[in-house]
Amino acid sequence: MMAYIIRRILYAIPILLGVNILTFMLFFVVNSPDDMARMNLGMKRVTPEAVENWKQERGYHLPLLYNSGREGAASITETIFFQKSVKLFKFDFGSSDNGRDIGYDISQRMWPSLAIAIPVLLVGLLVNITYALLIAFFRATYIDFWSVVLCVVMMSISGLFYIIGGQYLVSKLLHLVPISGYDTGLEAIKFLVLPTIIGVIGGIGSGTRWYRTLFLEEINKEYVRTARAKGLSETLVLFRHVLRNALIPILTGVVVVLPLLFMGSLITESFFGIPGLGSYTIDAINSQDFAIVRSMVFLGSVLYILGLILTDISYTVVDPRVRLT
């Protein structure tokens, strides 16, 4: 398995390089270094000299991809792309365009993102699996029918509606929790209740439908029929046999998203005023801070690749028939 993992890590290098080039190209198609300088320096009384100074200080005075003024390796190394990208592979994110240490900011802002993402994931799993099992148990009854209808309706509603509706109902009308905000330590709990509930409710439709499909697929398999033939109760069949076997796709589906939990949720963080990595990325895009955008895309890619590797590994853990070679 070790050889497999090493091979996958080596495969990741060209992928990351490609992602980096793509990000670079897309960013600089829309924003030139002059635009970035003007955005950073402000809108009023920005002189060409100030723009030039800004670019010079941050290394944006160099050509983008190829430096025709240099010879040999320097024509590649003395470019914005090379200067800004190489350090990423050492996980040195450098400084943002306004001088902040990106690595430190990420280390600070991933915790609020996790503080929402982990409860939403765990409680969501619990609720969705429970509900899906319930529907599977009552399959082909009115409970199954109306639950599926409910799930489809819930899936069709925009996530933004849950957020605004939840804030309006729970905070504005019922006055049960603060409408937005965040704090550190235990004080954070009262701010996390609503986004967690909304995150869970917002995911019930699609999650339950997906798990119901998995359970129903398992329920029709021969080993389930055998279990029933042995005289086991339906509850035991569901919990001891169906759930355990359906856990394989559930687990692998969860593992793949685990690393991405760090990246946060763009809309939720924005509406609830939570200082996580989702809002960090959005702010960077709005302020044309290439250093942060590049770092976050790179980090997202690394975490995604990590998630895929972990998924492969988790297959071998939950299904002994799978071998990684």
Binding site: D101, F137, F138, I143
Partner: protein
């Protein structure tokens, strides 16, 4: 599995219980803060720069203006806006000099004045906030000016340097800050303007830039560059409390600049401390942790969450004004007269990116003030049958107060004067611009897109700025019929069509080509709201039979077009730096043309007479003579119509009954110190407005129960059937 459910329930209950202990359940602040004199407000965008050499935008000023004390400030209550000393002991004494350096009379002709000397006395006894940059050990050495790499690596925030110190503000600190404005490495936005006026400013900048470069090339470990070793010709520290600044020629507007945070004292120790290698990488910089002498200091700077201003224990003291406008006493604005400032001891600004949660929290009493977004306008404001603006019953019942003021800003519709169709000084293009000016119904625009919050402009000067006239005298006769002067009437569209015929475009057809006239509007508007605006714009041009082509682009490309002069018509805005007509009229001064001179004249307008009058007017004191010149300048502009003038936005804000001393002051940014809070009233109202409503939770539980019972029954039936 049952155990897991139990645990989940216990955790959820613990969440709810911990969230709901004491006070209102939805209170986002700690219960212990309820009785304290704390202001609660919000910000939507992180301030980029807190260094007074760089900060220039309103969201930056809302913080640093409370922390730094420039030499002058605007009187809080007096109108028209009036400057008064802040860090200065008295208003600067200005002496004029001829080319030989001899003092000449104050009434001397501007042409005779070669230099202006500003003699400035500063208040003795002002001290900086407690700060590690000023901390000294028992031997008198600076505690943190020679940090080791271990100390730097262990620091993530400024409070990781626990020892703080202070010292008195001296004239040398103002001199140091002026040098910082000139230092190119710090990219001050006003370096260009100051270079035009302060003697030796630009030369100083070039010199220190060269020497800094040399220092770095020689492998200096630190980025610290000791500005004390270099002198600027035009600035002299006379003694500990006196400073002289020499300007080229006469520039009365310089006083307004002295009221901006750019001219705050900055101790050299701040630069020496923050320049130590590694600190900036640890996010410890002057841009993040200010060092001021004002009434407040930045206690917490976490702009991703909140920023907290706390009273500066070393503040030298200031009193609430004892005079104001005649109506101020009746409005209770003089109740705090003579009281020591600041009245509020702490201010907590929370990050609130979305307008909906901000508005809801304001209505719940968790923010003391609020603006009014378009979404909440109808909930907050209503118009009487006479068209008067007032609060809705819901707001009035809560004791909320509405404050309105016409801002010192303008949103204008501009023509690119370099364009071959709408630009230039030909009669045809001028009449075309005038026709478009009539057709663009900005009264309608304000009504539709700004909820009536604006005043259609008659020229570039907003009401309240010297030179802006009210009544019939102030009406733009090319676009409006004066009527009785109180409400000028936009000329009928037939008048615009007549102008189009004279211009050679009858019914929107170009007589030269016999084709429909097609004009181009460059904009950054996008989304549904933008689409509505653009449709409105098309409709205005369609009134003249002109086809309008919209060229949408992002803001970067839009700026490129403006810089290159490839746009034809556009809409842009300007927010005044100071309340002087020069700060608006310079937007149309020829040598400020954007294409040729990279200035702020985006229309690239040039008129010799206007430019000559501008030069004459800009250095004059407000007087009848100056007014007459401005009148003539406005007449030239209205005749030439390089802008279709647009509108002056009106600022609407709301405040709760417990928030006192609120008077809109659009020039002053340091008004927090005057504000007051009644925490008892606030707490009472919060509890009244936010009782937790728990019965729906019971209802949800009941509904679940009702749903679950038949399910359980069915489950049992199935279990029994399976057992058979």
């Amino acid at each position: 599995m049952a155990g897991l459910y139990k645990k989940a329930l216990i955790i959820l209950t613990a969440f709810l219980v911990s969230a709901c202990t004491g006070g209102s359940w939805n209170n986002p602040y700690p219960d212990g803060d309820a009785s304290q004199s704390i202001l609660y407000s919000a910000f939507s965008e992180r301030p980029k720069h807190l260094d007074p050499v760089r900060a220039y935008s309103s969201n930056e000023y809302s913080f640093i203006a409370q922390i730094y004390e420039p030499l002058l400030q605007y009187h809080f209550l007096d109108r028209p806006y009036r400057l008064e000393p802040l860090a200065a002991a008295r208003m600067p004494q200005v002496y004029y000099l001829n080319a030989a350096g001899e003092r000449i009379a104050e009434q001397a002709e501007p042409g005779e004045i070669a230099y202006s000397d500003y003699w400035i006395d500063i208040k003795p006894g002002m001290r900086y906030q407690p700060h590690p940059a000023l901390a000294r050990d028992e031997q008198g050495e600076f505690s943190y000016h020679s940090l080791t790499s271990q100390q730097i690596d262990a620091a993530n925030v400024l409070t990781d340097f626990p020892v703080t110190g202070t010292r008195e503000v001296t004239a040398a600190d103002f001199y140091h800050q002026i040098k910082r404005l000139a230092f190119p490495r710090l990219n001050s936005p006003i370096a260009g303007v100051m270079g035009d006026y302060i003697v030796g400013f630009s030369e100083f900048g070039k010199r220190v830039a060269e020497q800094y470069k040399t220092q770095q090339q020689e492998g200096a470990e630190s980025s610290y560059f000791d500005l004390r070793q270099h002198e600027m010709e035009g600035v002299e520290v006379i003694d500990r409390y006196r400073l002289r600044i020499r300007l080229k020629g006469k520039y009365p507007q310089f006083l307004y600049w002295l009221a901006m945070p750019f001219f705050s004292p900055m101790p050299w120790e701040a630069d020496a401390f923050y320049s130590q290698p590694g600190l900036e990488k640890r996010n410890i910089s002057l841009n993040w942790y200010p060092l001021g002498s004002g009434p407040y200091m930045l206690e917490e700077n976490n702009p991703n969450l909140r920023m907290i201003l706390a009273e500066n224990p070393n503040f030298h003291g200031e009193s609430y004004p004892t005079t104001g406008e005649p109506d101020d006493e009746r409005r209770g604005l003089l109740q705090s007269s003579g009281e020591p400032l600041p009245l509020i001891k702490r201010a907590i600004y929370s990050l609130e990116k979305e307008s909906i949660p901000y508005w809801s929290k304001f209505l719940q009493g968790y923010y003391d003030t609020s603006g009014i977004s378009s979404d909440s306008f109808d909930q907050a404001i209503q118009f009487s049958s006479q068209g008067e603006i007032g609060l809705t019953d819901e707001m009035a019942q809560k004791g909320i107060t509405l404050h309105t003021a016409v801002t010192t800003s303008i949103f204008y519709f501009g023509f690119n004067m370099l364009d071959s169709t709408v630009g230039g000084s030909t009669e045809s293009s001028r009449l075309l611009r005038q026709a478009i000016s009539i057709a663009l119904d900005f009264e309608e625009y304000i009504s539709i897109f700004s909820n009536g919050r604006g005043v259609a402009a008659q020229g570039p000067l907003p009401p309240g700025i010297f030179g802006s006239r009210s009544g019939a005298e102030g009406v733009n006769g090319y676009v409006y019929d004066p009527g009785d002067g109180s409400q000028p009437q936009r000329k009928p569209i037939e008048a615009a069509k007549a102008l189009m015929r004279q211009a050679g475009y009858p019914d929107g057809r170009d007589l030269k080509t016999n084709k429909p006239l097609i004009l181009y509007y460059d904009t950054t508007a996008t989304g549904p709201d933008g689409k509505a605006r653009l449709n409105w714009m098309r409709k205005q041009f369609a009134k003249l039979g002109v086809q309008l082509v919209i060229r949408s682009s992002d803001y970067n490309r839009f700026q490129d077009k403006m810089r290159e002069g490839t746009g034809q018509m556009y809409m842009w805005g300007w927010n005044a730096d100071y309340p002087d007509p020069e700060n608006f009229l310079f937007l149309l001064y020829g040598p400020n043309g954007k294409v040729e001179h990279a200035g702020e004249n985006s229309s690239n307008y040039r008129n010799e007479e206007f430019d000559r009058l501008f030069v004459q007017m800009k250095n004059m004191e407000n007087s009848d003579e100056r007014l007459a010149i401005i009148d003539r300048m406005l007449e030239i502009l209205r005749h030439d119509a390089p802008w279709a003038w647009g509108y002056f936005p009106k600022a609407y804000s709301l405040s709760h009954a417990w928030y006192g001393n609120v008077k809109p002051n659009l020039m002053a940014n340091n008004t927090l110190k005057y504000k007051s809070i009644d925490p008892q009233l606030r707490e009472t109202q919060r509890e009244l407005w936010n009782p937790p409503v728990v019965w729906p939770l019971g209802l949800v539980a009941a509904v679940l129960l009702v749903t679950v019972v038949p399910a359980i029954r069915m489950y049992r039936q199935r279990e029994r059937s399976a057992a058979r």
